[in-house]
Amino acid sequence: MIGWLIFFFSIFLGMLGYASYLSYRKNRTSDEFILGGSNIGAILGFLTFSAALFSAFTFMGMPDFFRTHGVGAWIFLALSDALMVFFLIWFGYSLRKRAALVGYQGVAGFMKSCYGSRYAGYLVFVSSFLFLIPYVSIQIRGISIFLDAAFPQMLPSWSWAAILVLIMLVYSQIGGLKAIVYSDAIQGVIMLVVIWIIGLTCLKMAGGWEQATARVQAVNSELLSLPGPKGLFSMQFLVASAIAIVLIPVSQPQFTTRLVVMKNLKSVHQMAYAVGIFAMLVILPTAFIGLYGAIKYPDASTADFLSQALLFDQAVPVAALAVVGLFAACLSTTNAQIFALGTELRSLLSGSDQFNMRATKISILIFSIIVLVFSSYMSDELVLLARVSFTGTSMIAPVVLGAVIFKHPPKSLLILSSFALGYFILSLLGIVPDKIFGQALDFVMYGILALITSVLMIRHHLNQKTLS
């Protein structure tokens, strides 16, 4: 096993090194460093978007979600992702249209320009910081749990996370966004190959699809229908999750920026359907692994199930490749998000190019340290924590949509999003209830936000018409 691990890790790290080398330019501007020259084609764009989207939470969280909550997990993620890529067709166009008019350095700076208010920029930055830090920490936590369970006593738990963050820092500081895009492409391919090998092996060990579902039926028939054995996949949960996931490109800056830095609209559109296909291809084998887990390890802990299904039940080279694949998946999401936080901070700065570049690099280092510390305190509920992060960032969606739709967006959207974000944070802290009239808070909040946002936007549109 160790020999195979060294072999695959050497290839992987060699490719990362080559990606950094290709991306490095001695006298580059901060624009080249942060926005990769805004010339990313469809294939690289699709791989970087997919690698940033499908992370350790997909690789590890989804098999566990299928095992624990059943087949409704497909609707929770795959269907929501499909809706998101359809939405990208319009959103990518509208975003690029506005970005071409007012310029783009990052979502926070973009909002500041569109609303003519520094507060708009700060709101986006605070929301990103508050909800991306836990999300990145989830990835790191996920890989640490897995490696710790797989190789007990080999290294202290925290050191796995530290190694990952160190690799991420080195190559992102050398190559900037371009290096991250190249490495995402490598990681996307590795992840797809590995998850299919493991998925098919698990399906075979479960006796093929029909026998697997029959055995799941015998173990726990509630896994084969909604809302699942623990009642998680209620209609409210699925609808609220779909809205939160559709809004990811609106409210998570690492995705918004990727839409702007692509070569042209055609590339964005090709990327959109390619991500949809990739989503189906990546999530399907996680169902095979999850159903296999439901049959063989129904009562095991998350860490035990994952280390058994992904490592010890696999042939040695496959297990080694799984470790590298997981590491790659985690790395790609982590680097995308930490780099995005640096980009957001930089878009709010107004100093010289050299100063901005230095400030961005230092901020990426500081964000990495915060994430590393935070990951030690996370719980093991990877998917549910990821969903909280999606929901939290989506509270600023009215602000971003307003900026994309209107030339002079209504400032009332800033108040609305600030209130929604504040209330959601208070509910997480347990200061206000997380249910309203017995309904899930996020579901109710989406309903209210959609209604008020529509009213504000229609009123603004009519006012603008009257003025002109």
Binding site: V71, I75, A82, Y93, L226, L265, G276
Partner: protein, 70 residues
């Protein structure tokens, strides 16, 4: 013509979502199965597939020009 197809696609995907969440994805429904695949899984897969195909068509007929080009 492209604008018309785009509007139809948006309408189709919106209607598909509403119908799916309201009438197809019902709780405790396991049948009819399709080749041993539980009802929720195969219908969820089918709806996902249809939306991805709609995305592909939308990418081909999207009626507006690239803003950066214009």
């Amino acid at each position: 013509m492209k604008l018309k197809i785009w509007k139809i696609l948006v309408l189709f995907v919106s209607a598909l979502c509403i119908i799916s969440f309201l009438f197809i994805f019902k709780e405790n429904k396991e049948t009819p199965e399709l080749y041993g695949v539980p009802f929720i899984f195969w219908t969820g897969f089918l709806v996902t597939f249809l939306i991805v195909v709609s995305t592909y068509i939308a990418s081909r007929i999207f009626p507006f020009e690239d803003p950066k080009k214009s």
